[in-house]
């Protein structure tokens, strides 16, 4: 037993540390089922739109070629993009290479063409019409036609794909797809929605490849490479070890307005490296080309001196401006003590989020002001997070009747301690919570840290078993209040109302906002809802990172403005909206390699780009 344990122990040292601040889930409303697949006649008076006027963001000097080495924390369990095991971190490597009808310009947020050249909004405010680009081709050379879109709807509705969310979304949100001719279609939703182009939009799958979807779908397509419409396709799969993603040399859209000079790298090589620490060593040795260094320890400590000082590796700090996931503490109102608003307000003033920011995070992270930060006009900028304030915490706790302190300094009432469990699912958060826990003691509040595996932590929240949960939600372009705060989703499992808020007034506001399609009405309603949520103090916001930071070997080149407003990284390889801006510079590669041999150095390069920076509190 001893030998075994020592062996396991040493194996363990080389093991993975996977961190994720992010979990996501979506729910949609119910409505009656409706018929689908049809052909019809195009309404008259359609106003066809297109967009080739928005500024370009790729660099005209970009060259094609080169190889880019990157790593996977774990190997995907399947190449399918729907069905069991498909929702893994690297699904984007495949899914991003399936283009949609239209996309979003990452700087202006205007609609831009992808597979469709033109689009039109229907009068019913729930239908969009599209003209498919006749040049659009699958990677096997077959044309993309209206039939592929009809097929895709059928595909997503099929029980055989074993993907209930898609089944549900494509019956209850998307009503139907209508084919007018081979290159003209419409997509309708079940009810009117603002920003229609975000919802009545489909990324098609090839009908000629799949044929009919049968009950063997999930098995049959586990490791099949499906013809796609995007710039790259996966190849050379060594299961459990590595794969490559290779550029289509004659991608049909390569000379289109918004895609020119983008998607330059020939081959992306991915191999499994199970630990961030090991991956960083690979990077320093030049076996990985870029590395995310957003954590303060990386940016300030680990990337000093060495090849950074010699200018072989460059650093980039880029401020972006995208809606941010709400990252913070969700207080579960089903807990008898948390039901008291004064207790919640007391807790909000007893969590020293700022101390963590100032010490551990080196003042690099900003405090989120509320749940709905970063939604532009939709965000109520008058709201700011409640600061750590012991006097106020005392006042609120006393008001709630928690006036006496026990021998350990924790408040007691009726023989019960003022003590809550914080559930979370990411190991690197522990050190932050450790500080918050110690500080909260001063307010007479005890916090117990309960770290679970990220899946278990998420499940725990969905089942509403938490007392306080520290979670981040992924986000969409517009705030969605219904799923998080409507009483319809309170006190039942598998919904996203993790605070179990059930407030009649709030319900009314949310429904009003949800049903309105007029921006002028929705914005003030949004502000009102946010104020109400702030007053209820059911969510205590924590940190947001309004930027990304990366290190890269100097032979990788970026445009003058290295990324876009909505970018999450400057080295996004496939994303149709923000990706593929960087390129490999052979001359610089040779120059750098020679310099490394001869000991010649270059000036240290640290770029801080604030083009899209938003002032704090906005």
């Amino acid at each position: 037993m001893l030998k075994l344990q020592i062996l396991i122990f040493f194996l363990a040292i080389g093991c993975t540390k996977k961190s994720s601040d992010d979990t996501s889930i979506k729910t949609e409303s119910a409505s009656e089922e409706v018929s689908s697949l049809a052909t019809g006649t195009l309404p008259k008076n359609l106003k066809w739109l297109t967009n080739d006027k928005d500024p370009l963001f790729a660099d005209p000097d970009a060259k094609k070629g080169g190889e880019y080495q990157d790593f996977l924390m774990s190997f995907p369990l399947t190449l399918r993009v729907v069905g069991p095991d498909s929702n893994h971190g690297y699904r984007g490597h495949i899914l991003d290479n399936f283009m949609s009808l239209v996309g979003i310009h990452p700087n202006t947020e205007n609609v831009i063409p992808e597979i469709a050249t033109h689009w039109a909004y229907g009068e019913d405010k729930k239908t969009m019409y599209y003209k498919i680009n006749p040049a659009a081709r699958w990677s096997d050379g077959k044309p993309i036609t209206a039939d592929d879109f009809l097929f895709t709807l059928e595909f997503y509705r099929s029980k055989h794909i074993i993907a209930p969310w898609y089944n549900n979304h494509y019956t209850e949100t998307v009503e139907n797809v209508i084919k007018y001719d081979d290159h003209t279609i419409s997509v309708s939703l079940t009810r009117p929605k603002p920003d229609l182009h975000l919802y009545a939009n489909i990324a098609p799958f090839p009908k000629h490849y799949y044929g009919k979807i049968d009950d063997d779908f999930t098995k049959k397509y586990n490791w099949e490479i499906v013809p796609n419409s995007g710039p790259y396709i996966i190849q050379n799969i060594k299961k459990g070890k590595s794969y490559e993603i290779v550029r289509h040399k004659d991608w049909w859209a390569k000379d289109m307005h918004y895609y020119k000079n983008r998607f330059n790298v020939d081959t992306f090589k991915y191999k499994v490296i199970r630990s961030i620490d090991n991956a960083y060593v690979y990077f320093l040795k030049g076996q990985l080309d870029t590395f995310g260094i957003v954590y303060p320890q990386y940016w300030h400590e680990k990337t000093k001196g060495g090849d950074f000082a010699k200018g072989y590796i460059n650093k980039l700090w880029f401020y972006n401006d995208a809606p941010r996931g709400a990252y913070g503490f969700y207080l579960n109102l089903a807990h008898p003590h948390l039901r008291d608003q004064n207790v919640r307000l007391g807790i909000a003033h007893a969590l020293n989020v700022d101390k963590v920011s100032k010490t551990l995070l080196r003042g690099d992270y900003e405090r989120q002001s509320q749940h709905y930060d970063g939604y532009g006009k939709y965000t109520n900028t008058k709201i700011t997070a409640r600061p750590f304030d012991l006097d106020k915490a005392n006042e609120y706790f006393n008001k709630a009747g928690w006036t006496t302190r026990g021998p350990d300094g924790i408040r007691v009432k009726d023989g019960k301690k003022l003590s809550f469990e914080i559930t979370y699912g990411a190991k690197h958060i522990t050190e932050r919570l450790a500080i918050i826990k110690e500080e909260a003691k001063r307010a007479g509040l005890e916090l117990k840290l309960k770290i679970l595996d990220s899946g278990a932590a998420f499940k725990n929240g969905l089942e509403k078993k938490h007392e306080i949960s520290l979670t981040a939600w992924s986000t969409s372009l517009r705030p969605d209040y219904w799923q998080h705060y409507h009483s319809e989703n309170a006190n039942k499992t598998q919904t996203n109302n993790w605070s179990n808020v059930a407030d009649k007034e709030l319900d009314a506001l949310i429904m009003k906002e949800r049903e309105s399609i007029d921006e002028k009405e929705r914005i003030p309603l949004s502000h009102e809802i946010q104020q109400k949520l702030h007053d209820l103090s059911v969510f205590i916001p924590t940190w947001s990172i309004p930027y990304f930071r990366e290190a890269y070997w100097r032979w990788w080149r970026l445009p003058k403005i290295p990324a876009t407003r909505l970018s999450g990284t400057a080295f996004s390889p496939f994303d149709m909206s923000t990706g593929g801006l960087f390129w490999f510079d052979q001359d610089r590669y040779d120059e750098t390699k020679a310099a490394m041999k001869s000991g010649k150095t270059f000036p240290e390069t640290v770029d801080i780009v604030t083009t899209f920076r938003v002032k704090a509190g906005n």
């Binding site: 122990f9 932050r432 679970l452």
Partner: protein, 347 residues
């Protein structure tokens, strides 16, 4: 003296093996001292004299700041109080322990960020970790938890393992065969993985982790005890005892166990070392005791991912090496002392 002369002889031999003996003395005193770690490493003062009244805050309930004329109700911050007393220059004074930090509080200093390097000025003799907590404090409290965890774990697994092993050897027959099969199956359960699975769903505390580890680790000693019981059982002195009408309990406790003691004793130090490494491994992977409990595994994890702050990894690794080497020395010495053959000739 109630020990029999043979045992005394063995102990004498153990004392004669200097390396093992001194390791034992040092380790035993470390374990003993760790029980009173609060007196050496603590953020609470040892003695406070305030307005002609003495306070001893080390153990017991917290003393709120209001008690010393401060304006807060939470626990007195003694380091600040000390400075305040100094500034006032009155009759009030207090004595802080050698290391005036506990294992949980994170220290922040203006302008620089943790981890702070070792410093005599601030009395962070081993530096701080990435959250600004004193490493020496975390090492010592982590040691206390790990060693006591390991001692209790070893005791429990041995009680269960020895009992079942003796029963198997003594009763033999069907019971033996059935238990053998059960143990074979049980020993194939990948024990660390099971703990990981359990603790990813619920967060174990000290007692629960102990229970889980005993539940999956009790079989370690059974087969040794079974074999040794079999061997002793067929000896004449056991037959003699049986023919005199001694009960099985008496035979096992008075005759068989004392003659098998050398096997048990030889394994103990290694079992303790293995208990420490298991707990450290689990904490390293984040499946051990709930944070922010001080632990070597957690420090090791921080150290390996923050190699630039070399004082973290070096202090925890040296501490582990020292403790585990001492345990090994003790184990070696015990084995040698309890070996009936004084000299072995290998051919």
């Amino acid at each position: 003296m109630w020990l029999n002369p043979l045992t005394l002889k063995k102990l004498k031999r153990f004392r004669a093996i200097k390396r093992g003996y001194y390791s034992f003395v040092i380790l035993a005193s470390m374990v003993f001292l760790s029980l009173f770690a609060e007196l050496f490493i603590n953020s609470r003062a040892l003695v406070v004299k305030y307005n002609d009244k003495f306070y001893f805050p080390t153990f017991g309930a917290i003393i709120p700041g209001t008690e010393f004329g401060l304006d807060y109700e939470y626990e007195t911050r003694y380091r600040l109080l000390k400075e305040k007393f100094k500034e006032e220059g009155g009759k009030n004074w207090l004595i802080m322990p050698l290391v005036p930090y506990n294992a949980y509080e994170s220290i922040s200093r203006e302008g620089i960020y943790p981890p702070y390097p070792p410093s005599f000025e601030f009395k962070n003799y081993f530096g701080t970790d990435t959250s600004g907590r004193d490493i020496l404090a975390r090492l010592v409290y982590g040691f206390r938890i790990a060693i006591w965890f390991s001692i209790v774990l070893t005791t429990l697994t041995y009680v269960v393992g020895i009992a079942i092993g003796c029963m198997m050897g003594y009763w033999a027959g069907t019971f033996d065969i059935v238990m053998q099969r059960i143990i074979e199956i049980w020993s194939n359960v990948p024990f660390l993985y099971v703990i990981m699975i359990i603790s990813s769903v619920l967060v174990p505390n000290f007692g629960m982790l102990l229970a889980i580890m005993v539940f999956f680790g009790w079989h370690g000693m059974t087969f040794y005890m079974r074999a040794s019981t079999y061997r002793e059982k067929s000896r004449e002195y056991v037959l003699a005892a049986q023919s005199l009408g001694a009960s099985p309990v008496r035979i096992i406790f008075r005759h068989i166990l004392p003659n098998s003691i050398s096997i048990i004793v030889t394994f103990v130090p290694f079992a303790i070392a293995s208990g420490i490494t298991s707990l450290t491994a689990l904490d390293y992977l984040g499946f051990g005791l709930p944070p922010p409990t001080p632990s070597w595994g957690e420090l090791l994890e921080q150290g390996t991912s923050n190699m630039q702050a070399v004082w973290i990894v070096s202090s925890v690794v040296s501490m582990m090496v020292v403790v585990l080497t001492m345990v090994t020395f003790i184990g070696e010495a015990i084995r040698e002392a309890f070996d009936p053959k004084k000299f072995s000739i290998y051919q």
